[in-house]
């Protein structure tokens, strides 16, 4: 089949995808951008107001607090999730007995929905804190670490599986060669395993980063911002703005656009950095 003939078929193969992509991504995204410049109750009665919404969003102290809280949370959970997941993966690729069972068990929390997890951990943490006569709403730091624990519990198993796949794809001959050359365990880890699994690191940091940043249901179910909105992350703040005050849907939408830009920017930078390291090796 020559090229020209193939080209004739392209609408059939690309068309459905293109239509679907336009309908469920491009159009809503464009509408969202437009709505962030409007005052509206539903999409039907939008009135253009210019950059008023963005002004309101950037002067909203709650939004800035939520941004800062989200950044702190993301940094902590990206580090903890990836470090723990990596070492679990190392441990479970050593061929010890019961590896498969452990892998399954560690992966399982990922199958439970965020809201359910949030409520379960709410009960557990309140039970623990109850022995000190307080509960998770008592202080923002309880809520923060509660969220970190929850995030770790949920994400580690998933990241672990990706790391395991990465480690298993390293040719056994490489490890063996290093071994024969007299490399210590740490040297093997640093100079062989780590560079070889850089693609997995890219995927895992990307996933944890964007998931932590966008965290919503766990946040809603675990603390719902208590105390006094101090543990509200960005997604929750946007939700509260959108539905909490009369006539604030536009501001909520503007916040959502800012949020999308930030997430896209971070993801892009992070991809650039890890990709460049992948290429080096």
């Amino acid at each position: 089949m020559n090229n020209r003939k193939l080209k004739k078929y392209s609408p059939i193969f690309l068309g459905p995808m293109l239509i679907a992509f336009t309908a469920v991504f491009i159009v809503p995204f464009a509408m969202g951008l437009y709505l962030s410049l409007c005052k509206f109750t539903t999409v039907d009665n939008a009135v253009f107001t210019g950059f008023e919404n963005f002004k309101a969003a950037f002067t909203d102290q709650n939004f800035l607090n939520a941004l800062w809280f989200t950044v702190k949370f993301t940094v902590v959970s990206v580090v903890t999730v990836n470090v723990i997941a990596f070492f679990l993966a190392l441990l479970l690729t050593r061929g010890m007995r019961g590896s498969n069972l452990f892998r399954t068990v560690f992966f399982m929390p990922n199958l439970i929905g965020g809201i359910v997890l949030g409520y379960i951990w709410n009960l557990i943490l309140n039970g623990v804190l109850g022995t000190m006569g307080v509960d998770i709403t008592y202080s923002a730091s309880y809520g923060f670490w509660g969220l970190v624990i929850l995030m770790n519990w949920q994400m580690i198993g998933y990241m672990m599986v990706i790391y395991i796949a990465g480690i298993q794809s390293i040719p056994g001959s490489l490890i063996e060669a290093a071994h024969i050359d007299g490399a210590s365990g740490f040297q093997t880890l640093k100079s062989i395993i780590m560079p070889m699994i850089m693609p997995s690191v890219t995927i895992c940091t990307f996933l944890t980063l964007s998931n932590s940043f966008k965290l919503f249901d766990q946040n809603l179910a675990l603390t719902n911002g208590a105390p006094n909105r101090e543990t509200a992350m960005m997604a929750l703040d946007i939700y509260n703005t959108f539905y909490g005050s009369v006539g604030q849907q536009g501001v909520g939408q503007a916040k959502a656009v800012i949020f999308a830009v930030i997430v896209a920017l971070i993801a892009w930078i992070q991809l650039k950095i890890t990709r460049s390291r992948e290429e080096q090796m």
């Binding site: 459905p16 539903t42 009665n45 709410n122 309140n126 719902n224 909490g244 005050s245 006539g247």
Partner: protein, 444 residues
């Protein structure tokens, strides 16, 4: 040829997908969509619409928003082709948000039956929301337990009956002494847990807060339809603190642990006889009687007004009003609007409809189509009706429909929790309330 067939086939498949949505706007089969606010009675509504369909042939589809999600569900549905024809707003503030969608109901048949015309949501003399049920709340108490207390030989008060309790001072004496004798009474505390988990705190940041705001508006002769309601001084903050302190300090639960308590737990404590009192409204009866192991007897469940220590409160009754105002979607087709009005009119005036309203929905309907006998059988609703008829007391209207927004209520609730936990002083709470009221009102 093959290519052509393939192309045609794929086109057909695409269009048949797109065509699935069509066929709903048929004029002969008008469909009314009703977005229901109360999940607990969703099944009754389904019975009602079935009966209505059998009688008239008109299809009414009932959608129900989950607890606390009415506004978001409504906002999501309103933008679609299956927008609700009948929806509800929670008062003037809700109207501000949905004014583009509220049909003028001034000339509607149902409005002409409304007992108290001042209850409707109006703007510039036009009616946009018709209240369709009346509710009341106060302090619900279990008379068996209070009688048990009155019979104690070593109690420190002289009260012999709940009828003597007619102000905050007496209530406070009674409650503190009951709390001291809680072991003898077999309870864990006088009041059920003050549920302050976020999303579960509406009994305090909305219902209880109604009283100080009511007195402030009344005391200053504020015109409730004017912009004067956009700022408050929270003059009766001390009164709010009185009753709130009484609730949290004489309760089944340590104040520091209130942040994880939900409303259902409070009601369960009351139903199981672990406490003697709980602040809630007449809607709570179905909740109490539905709890397995419920020990509260139907003739022993009574209401007491919420006393806060305001002068002259001996004449204060229960808080009676509504935040359920029916609206018709002005953007629906003419035929749908008419069908929607007919359905609501049928529900509140026809014999069959009224039977559902009083006996299954347990609504106290505010329409003159209901006779004095056509009232719900549930004991709390009857208490509300009795209190509202008493000549010696004046009911407190629901001024919380003027609270500026959900955000205000949520922040107030969060501050109350911090106050209960001891991480915020009362004066900080008062400042937050006045400031938040102002900023949220400015957004209206």
């Amino acid at each position: 040829m093959k290519k052509l067939t393939a192309l045609i086939m794929s086109c057909i498949m695409l269009f048949s997908l797109a065509g699935c949505n069509k066929g709903a706007g048929d004029d002969k089969n008008v469909t009314v969509r009703f977005l229901n606010f109360k999940p607990e009675i969703a099944s009754v509504y389904n019975e009602i619409v079935q009966a209505y369909k059998e009688e008239t042939g008109v299809t009414v589809i009932v959608d129900t928003a989950a607890n606390n999600t009415y506004e978001s569900t409504l906002a999501a549905r309103m933008g679609t082709s299956e927008a609700p024809t009948i929806f509800q707003i929670n008062g003037p503030r809700g109207y501000a948000n949905w004014s583009d969608y509220c049909k003028d109901l001034t000339d509607s048949k149902l409005y002409s039956h409304l007992n108290d015309k001042s209850m409707a949501v109006t703007k510039d003399g036009k009616v946009f929301g018709i209240p369709y049920l009346i509710e009341g709340y106060g302090i619900i108490y279990n008379e068996e337990l209070t009688d048990k207390y009155f019979a104690l030989s070593d109690k420190n008060t002289d009260f012999m009956s709940m009828d003597e309790i007619n102000n905050f001072e007496k209530l406070s004496q009674l409650v503190t002494d009951m709390q001291k004798n809680k072991d003898k009474l077999g309870i864990n505390g006088v009041f059920a847990a003050t549920s302050l988990k976020s999303g579960e705190d509406w009994r305090w940041q909305t219902h209880l807060a109604n009283l100080p705001i009511y007195y402030e508006f009344k005391n200053n002769d504020i015109d409730l339809s004017s912009d004067a309601t956009k700022e408050i001084k929270f003059e009766y903050a001390e009164n709010y603190k009185n009753i709130f302190d009484l609730y949290i300090n004489n309760s089944t639960t340590d104040p520091k642990l209130l942040g994880s308590k939900i409303g259902d737990e409070s009601m369960a404590e009351f139903a199981l006889g672990q406490c003697a009192m709980v602040q809630n409204g007449n809607w709570a009866w179905s909740q109490i009687s539905g709890i397995s192991g419920n020990v509260v007897k139907e003739d022993k469940i009574k209401f007491l007004p919420i006393y806060t220590g305001v002068e002259g409160e001996e004449k204060q009754g229960l808080c009676i009003g509504t935040e359920n105002f029916m609206c018709i979607n002005s953007k629906a087709s003419e035929a749908e609007q008419k069908a929607a009005e007919d359905f609501m009119y049928w529900l509140f005036t026809s014999d069959k409809g009224k039977d559902y309203v009083t006996n299954k929905l347990d609504f106290i309907a505010p329409f003159d189509s209901f006779t004095d006998e056509e009232i719900p059988t549930d004991p709390l609703a009857r208490e509300v009706i009795e209190w509202s008829k008493r000549a010696d007391v004046e009911s407190v209207p629901w001024n919380f429909t003027l609270f500026p927004s959900q955000t205000f209520k949520n922040d107030f609730g969060a501050a109350l929790l911090q106050y209960a936990q001891g991480t915020k002083t009362w004066s900080e709470v008062v400042t937050l309330v006045t400031e938040e009221w102002k900023t949220e009102s400015a957004k209206l």
